[in-house]
Amino acid sequence: MSDCTRDEWMTVVAARMLRDRCVCFVGIGLPSAACNLARLTHAPDIVLIYESGTIGARPQVLPLSIGDGELAETASCVVPLPELFNYYLQAGRVDVGFLGAAQIDRHGNLNSTVIGPYGAPSTRLPGAGGAPEIALHARETFVMLKATPRSFVERLDFRTTAGHCRAASVPSRNNAGREGVARAPRDESSHGPSAVITDFGVLTPRADSGELSLSGLFGDASVAEARAAVGWPLGVADQLEPIAPPSAFELETLRGLQARTRAAYALPVSIPA
């Protein structure tokens, strides 16, 4: 399947990380595609929770927003957000959280708040949303993010979401220090990503330091490409796992889902009269 795109690689590889029957807090975009691909392939009973309070959603097409009507219609139930955040997420009932961000550092800390100083940013990003508490409370988190030296950075402009964080030794630029409590890397109080799926392969945290290092490459990607795309000196895991390319079934299912989605979006929505 050498003709598949890097987006497809990312989506397929992320989908494979999801066990059947796991409870998954889904972000929009690539994570939503990956979660639904898992549901349509090896994980038919995966429980998808979207941030809009739709629990157990089974959409036929990918939603554009986290609250499209399709999600409510196919969900087991729709709960108010305080219940979702208190009784499900904070209560520790979510197995997997999927996050994106604008920036990630070598310990998996994430920035989705600002580029530049908080008070006078060069780029104002959307902000935290559910991410800080998803990372804190989900049993495990995955990050999906395409790599460039501007997104995989030596030092975050703002730490929105804690990774394997080593806060005291590598403060983010904006951190005024009030909350700068160090967390030991990879101990049980660490909530960093267990995998970062990017467009050349997969990074995972080292057991000792929590530092993200390259542990798997997509078929046509190279270590040199990976190193060029990452803004810190990227370590390579002792065992660089070969990643099986997307199977015909995986690709067919994903492409079918995306074709259905495009067809649904192309239908004109009539402005209410």
């Binding site: 009507g69 108010p80 730490r159 005024a176 909350e179």
Partner: protein, 285 residues
């Protein structure tokens, strides 16, 4: 208890929304009260403290038109599309005026709305750990559990002067029924000093729904019939979200002049929501 007023949206905004107020238009992707936001723009309200978990296009428009001095929020993007360019322009370049931010996570905003609805001075959450949010927001603090000693994050209650919702139905008495994704709309409604609701339709009797989401008439200050009032967001059972409009907004809002022209034509150039929808229809034709 006073009876809810049945009036036009023009009257409701004129009577209940004043310059300088703290105003929440809630609805999480679903049932976003766009018509009310446009009417606030038409009536040129200024200096508002806007509150909303996910500012969305409606706040992008209000901020771009200079209605707001402050924003309490947790995620300010165009869902699935990208940036809110008017929000960014206000924060990055102070256009048309600077915007003060009271920034939270979703969990923090939810806790603040719950505390507001319960008339508690603050809400609790396990959150804001090991990140930079609290360092930039003095409204994120901590308390110690009086039993275990544990340190728990605290946020002050949000109690808007006015909350505005859009819902599917109200009955003639003013009971309001919401069906589908509700977000923190109920908490925002009950946290407010004054609650305005626009609805798709006013019916003789709400369908029976023992455990449904109902706001009883005696918590509602005014009910306004406003079909299509959530467009381009949606009303479950009435019309779908216009995802194409959300994608199209990215181009419109990217440029100040194009944004102003769009608002001039479709919002300021129309007298009410019916006029706004007609204007979009004409453009689409």
């Amino acid at each position: 208890m006073t009876t809810p007023r049945h009036c036009s949206l023009t009257e409701a905004i004129a009577e209940f929304v004043e310059d300088g107020m703290c105003v929440a238009l809630e609805g999480f992707t679903h049932l976003i009260p766009f018509a009310a936001g446009h009417e606030i723009i038409r009536q040129r309200r200024r200096d508002l403290h806007l509150v909303r978990m996910t500012p969305d296009l409606v706040y992008d428009q209000m901020i771009g038109m200079g209605c707001a001095r402050k924003l309490s929020f947790s995620w300010g993007g165009n869902p699935g599309v990208g940036s809110l360019h008017r929000l960014r322009d206000a924060v990055e370049r102070g256009w048309p005026q600077p915007l003060q931010l009271d920034e939270h996570s979703h969990a923090g905003m939810a806790a603040a709305f719950c505390a507001g609805a319960a008339r508690l001075p603050f809400g609790l959450l396990r959150g804001y750990q090991d990140n930079d949010l609290a360092a930039h927001n003095p409204r994120i603090r901590h308390v110690h559990c009086p039993f275990s000693g544990e340190r728990i994050a605290a946020v002050p209650a949000l109690n808007p002067d006015v909350t505005i919702l859009h819902a599917q139905q109200a009955d003639r008495q003013g009971n309001v029924a919401i069906h589908g994704i509700v977000g923190a709309a109920r908490e925002a409604a009950l946290a407010a000093r004054t609650l305005l609701v626009t609805v798709e339709e006013i019916v003789d009797a709400l369908p029976p729904a023992m455990n449904g989401i109902v706001l009883p008439w005696w918590v509602v200050a005014a009910v306004v019939a406003c079909p299509g009032g959530a467009y381009p967001s949606y009303a479950q059972g009435h019309y779908a979200r216009d995802n194409a409009f959300y994608q199209h907004w990215d181009e419109i809002a990217r440029d100040r002049q194009r944004f102003l022209a769009w608002i001039d034509r479709h919002v300021l150039g129309t007298t009410d929501h019916r006029g706004f929808l007609d204007s979009l229809h004409r453009e689409a034709a």
